[in-house]
Symmetry: C2
Subunit: 260 residues, 2 copies
Amino acid sequence: MANWIRFSCADGAVGFGTLSEYGRRVMRYEGSPFDIDGTQPTGEEMGIEEVTLLAPCQPGKIVALWNNFYALSKKLDKAPPKHPLFLIKPARSVIGTHEAIRRPVSYDGKIAYEGELGIVIGRRCSSVSVEEAEAAIFGYTCVNDVTAGELLQEDPNFPQWCRAKGFDTFGCLGPTIATGFDWRAAHVITTLDGVERQNYPIDDMIFTPAEQVSLISHDMTLEPGDVIACGTSLGIGSIKDGAEVCVSIKGIGTLVNRLL
Amino acid sequence: MANWIRFSCADGAVGFGTLSEYGRRVMRYEGSPFDIDGTQPTGEEMGIEEVTLLAPCQPGKIVALWNNFYALSKKLDKAPPKHPLFLIKPARSVIGTHEAIRRPVSYDGKIAYEGELGIVIGRRCSSVSVEEAEAAIFGYTCVNDVTAGELLQEDPNFPQWCRAKGFDTFGCLGPTIATGFDWRAAHVITTLDGVERQNYPIDDMIFTPAEQVSLISHDMTLEPGDVIACGTSLGIGSIKDGAEVCVSIKGIGTLVNRLL
């Protein structure tokens, strides 16, 4: 089990590393866990205060699920789906922890947080079995799947999932990618300005992470660094301008983003 | 006005060039029209038979519109939308002319062709005006927006646009990118095994290309090489396994893809 981060240094260099000493120290690596050549430890160690955390990966796409928790499915009175139901958030939606969620210039409606588990793909996979899918998962991160809620049903003929969720800065990822992580034992906890708003067990999930990767890999090739946002459960709500959302998963860390 | 192609040579080198002599000759360029450094003519000339055409750009995303032609909107009895209605097709969906559309291993239902005009973005743009949008368009290509039609409404609660249209090889682009192209004077003509199935005037479009780029750039940053598929009009239908679809736009060329 390791916690991978991606960071920039004071000199502008960008790199990958793992955390040690309860997150206080960074062990620096050469290369990227998402490149074919992988990573090599450099032996260099830094204090966490010497680096700026970035989104822990740079997905070409985020595949974001809807209706993937039994509790939410029951509350919405919608049957559990037979296949993961998803939309795509583009690469430019991604930000890391402590980066600002930016209100779109063209939208003054409600903006919602959705705390989620994120699966980070480690190997290219296409039409893989559940077992192969398990091996293709590099690790897990926290996701805030931000949504311009009032756009979703703005047009009566076409629910605008990609538009409502695709804005730049609406795909918050981080702070780390945890490898060897036991998602079955974890909860997603979301706070809004310090007040707990979501706290749900991940094992209430309809499609497990390996099932998601396997099934979605039959729909499209998943690439190293791609993220599947596993869907949210009960407790989503609006973020007032200026408010801070924290998504925490024990073993991964706390993803912090303010709406500006 | 020029017709840009992307190609590979017998030695495996990949490059950009423009066509001359009615498409018989290729003028080779260094660099890419989508890189900040742009292109330089090399002076090298080749016969078209010496190269293999590739998709003319490598979009990070295809933004694909639904209900963007008055004739189709009327036939569907749906009001023209107030904002472009779109989904995202991922990068791996892209293929070029004469590459095969592959039937997904997990799907034995109907697969539809949709002949469309594609806008190719030349400059990064975010929240730009219609005038700025016009200047951000590099050129135009043909699109076959392939769709696994029976997946769209498979789940009663969530129309699966990204899934039905996102499969690898379902985003056919090419054969060229035409710059300085007058879309108002052109038709999209689609043939299925040589029989004309679509022939519609592009100026029946609800949102013009510059309006699409401007409005969508308020939803997400558009990057050089990204493609907006402008939506289709009347005459879409199913492709039988083994059948060949040609999408032709005068001034751009004919995009040819067979379903295998």
